[in-house]
């Protein structure tokens, strides 16, 4: 049996969980947690299609994952730096309180 459907289902569920976290959490840092989960779901897809896909001797999947990991690290660093900056101004990481541009 080909494990591809299993891996794809796993990544779909992981993506859904990440999305749920992004939508329901108020803490900005925990929203980053959700984003990391969604990125990983995408990475699993890349690896799954590379490993069990239909193209032999191809490295596109792992290459994309490498770049994705590098960019995810950059994204986490910048995101957390911004959150720290915001925290320094408002003493809170609750996104619902960041409404000073609300008009």
């Amino acid at each position: 049996m080909n494990p591809l459907p299993l891996l794809l289902t796993l990544s779909s569920l992981l993506f859904a969980l990440g999305l749920l976290a992004v939508l329901t959490r108020r803490n900005a840092i925990l929203i980053l947690v959700g984003i990391e989960l969604m990125l990983n779901a995408a990475n699993i897809n890349f690896i799954a299609f590379w490993r069990y896909g239909s193209v032999e001797f191809d490295l596109t999947g792992p290459l994309f994952v490498m770049f994705s990991i590098a960019i995810a690290a950059a994204e986490a660093a910048v995101g957390l730096a911004i959150i720290l900056m915001v925290f320094r101004h408002t003493r809170s990481t609750d996104l619902n309180r960041l409404d000073s541009l609300h008009g």
Binding site: A16, L23, I47, A48, P62, L80
Partner: protein, 171 residues
């Protein structure tokens, strides 16, 4: 196949915990666990280099960064988080369900028909390196520039502002 069957529920449980736990540090640690299990998944499907890099970057880097940020900032009110969970969860599920439905429908319907059992059983690291530094050089250089910019930018962002440039807090 067997490791995948064993790992998938574990990954999902850890991710569920990361989404569900009200205490932020627990959520972050469960995220680290989920990412580490994904790394093990990569190891088990033969992409060892990717798995080890995933472990180094996500568990050693991103998860620790998140945990650190959680410690520096003030945690929110856990009780309030739990109290408003039913409402937010219902709303979130309403939004997530269609997405998940579409994804699962696509998985069930759109699989490539002529899938190989083992297209690429093992990741050749040498070939990956050659690919990276011969065909994908522009991308590598771009990522390098990006990471350098991020390093400097994050350092500047997170720097403690001097006593004069302190802006008045708006609350």
């Amino acid at each position: 196949m067997v490791p995948l069957l064993l790992l998938s529920p574990l990954i999902l449980l850890a991710a569920l915990g990361a989404v569900w736990k009200a205490r932020p540090v627990h959520a972050a640690l469960l995220l680290a666990l989920a990412l580490a299990l994904v790394a093990v998944l990569y190891l088990s499907v033969g992409a060892e280099f990717i798995g080890l890099v995933q472990f180094m970057v996500y568990v050693g880097g991103v998860a620790i960064l998140i945990v650190f940020a959680l410690l520096i900032t003030r945690p929110g009110d856990e009780a309030a988080e739990v109290a408003r969970r039913p409402r937010s969860l219902a709303l979130g599920l309403v939004c997530v369900a269609p997405v998940l439905g579409i994804l699962l429908y696509a998985v069930s319907k759109g699989l490539p028909v002529a899938a190989f059992e083992d297209a690429n059983p093992k990741l050749p690291v040498q070939a990956l390196g050659t690919e990276l530094f011969e065909n994908a050089v522009p991308a590598v250089l771009t990522v390098g520039v990006l990471l350098t910019a991020v390093l400097i930018g994050a350092a500047l962002f997170a720097r403690e502002p001097g006593p004069k440039s302190e802006l008045p807090a708006d609350r």
